[in-house]
Symmetry: C2
Subunit: 270 residues, 2 copies
Amino acid sequence: MDFDQFRVATPTSFELAKLPTDYDGGVKDDDLKELREELWLELAEWQERLYAENKQSLLVVFQAMDAAGKDSSIGKLTSALSAHGCHVKSFKKPSTLEAGHDFLWRIHAAAPKSGEMTMFNRSHYEDVLIVKVHQWADAETIERRYDHINNFERLLADRGTKVVKFMLNISKDYQLERFQRRLENPDKHWKFNPGDLDERAKWSDYMHAFESAIGRCSSDEAPWYIVPAENRKYRDVMIASVLRDTLKAMDPQYPEPDFDPTVYTVDSIS
Amino acid sequence: MDFDQFRVATPTSFELAKLPTDYDGGVKDDDLKELREELWLELAEWQERLYAENKQSLLVVFQAMDAAGKDSSIGKLTSALSAHGCHVKSFKKPSTLEAGHDFLWRIHAAAPKSGEMTMFNRSHYEDVLIVKVHQWADAETIERRYDHINNFERLLADRGTKVVKFMLNISKDYQLERFQRRLENPDKHWKFNPGDLDERAKWSDYMHAFESAIGRCSSDEAPWYIVPAENRKYRDVMIASVLRDTLKAMDPQYPEPDFDPTVYTVDSIS
């Protein structure tokens, strides 16, 4: 399957509304399920190579409107991976300490070390999304932040950290349905926050903010993928497939042993 | 006293050898001593304003050849300041965790929060000084690091962190004398390391590396000062004076009280 149509790897301008949110790529449900299982196994193998090589690293960013499935995407992905060298970091409202620094300070601190993968549940992009929509910073500050983000992602790339960014794309109607489900199910109430409705009311402002952020902060070293996220199997396949291909292209190598394995024999202890 | 002749605030090329290392600015020793005391008092007042305002911050970088007086400069300066909101961070050989990240990762983590001052004893500039001299990274990597440093310092500036960088400039002969003193005095042996002589042997390579780093990474928001460092009183006066002027220009304000001070009376408890 080819996901190039959903890849943004150079600065560009585009309309989110023109991209699908519910999509199966013409593949049957059962086949998507099977494919997903295969990809997760492959991904685990590539992760082991990355960890063994201990030179490069992978940063995966997830951004989306509320209820688009960030938690579920990350949860499924990390289940497939080894907890050795795989981290998840969620970014909420900055703490007092975090707010006392530049917006990339807490982000940089959580960047993966060599051999490791880190998934960001929200990220530095919040500082050009929610902050832009609410005008908590002026337009010039937002402009400068795009540059700071590009510079920062280039710094990571130069050290061997590949950055892959997923925007989980859903429709306004789909969010409505998910919110209603959260309100109807007491076990999901913790996931709902009345403030979410205020953000929902600014839907089109958010779409414009996403279009600018993705359009301004895309590069070959740190591409965005706009994932049609309503079909969860297709979503999972796309994410796993993109990450598998990314790791494949990074081509991590098992290190040469610094001993001669033929010299040693392992005896059972009598 | 005017220190503009020692200020580098735009990209430039220059020769360190043409700048003085032993200099008193035409001021008598006793007068320098008196001036230094006055400046330290002033500096403490400005630091209090910075701390009370809790919006901006100050990062002071010290770089120099061995035995030029980094420890002593920082020690004297911090004695004059309040430990509240004043930090010193020394950067040695990167740890395994630090080396598993980009070169600015550990630097960014130590950047001052709003209201605070941090002194860096060595810094990210080691990654374009010792690393360049020993060719631990190729020329292209060093070039890219200059850009990364400029981008990083601009990120700090945009958040209200002023960066001031001091290169303590000494002659080769002066270092010889200081090394001899360290060897002759058992109380100073801990400050000497036979490897220091290997670095000394690369003196002119270091001078070229300093010239490139300072020439490439100078801006109005993050200027370098090349301090004639052999006369320690002049050195201290220059450092204190530059920092006093920097804080003055930052113009930190005591915050408006959120209460009416005339409403309250404080009684002695009977």
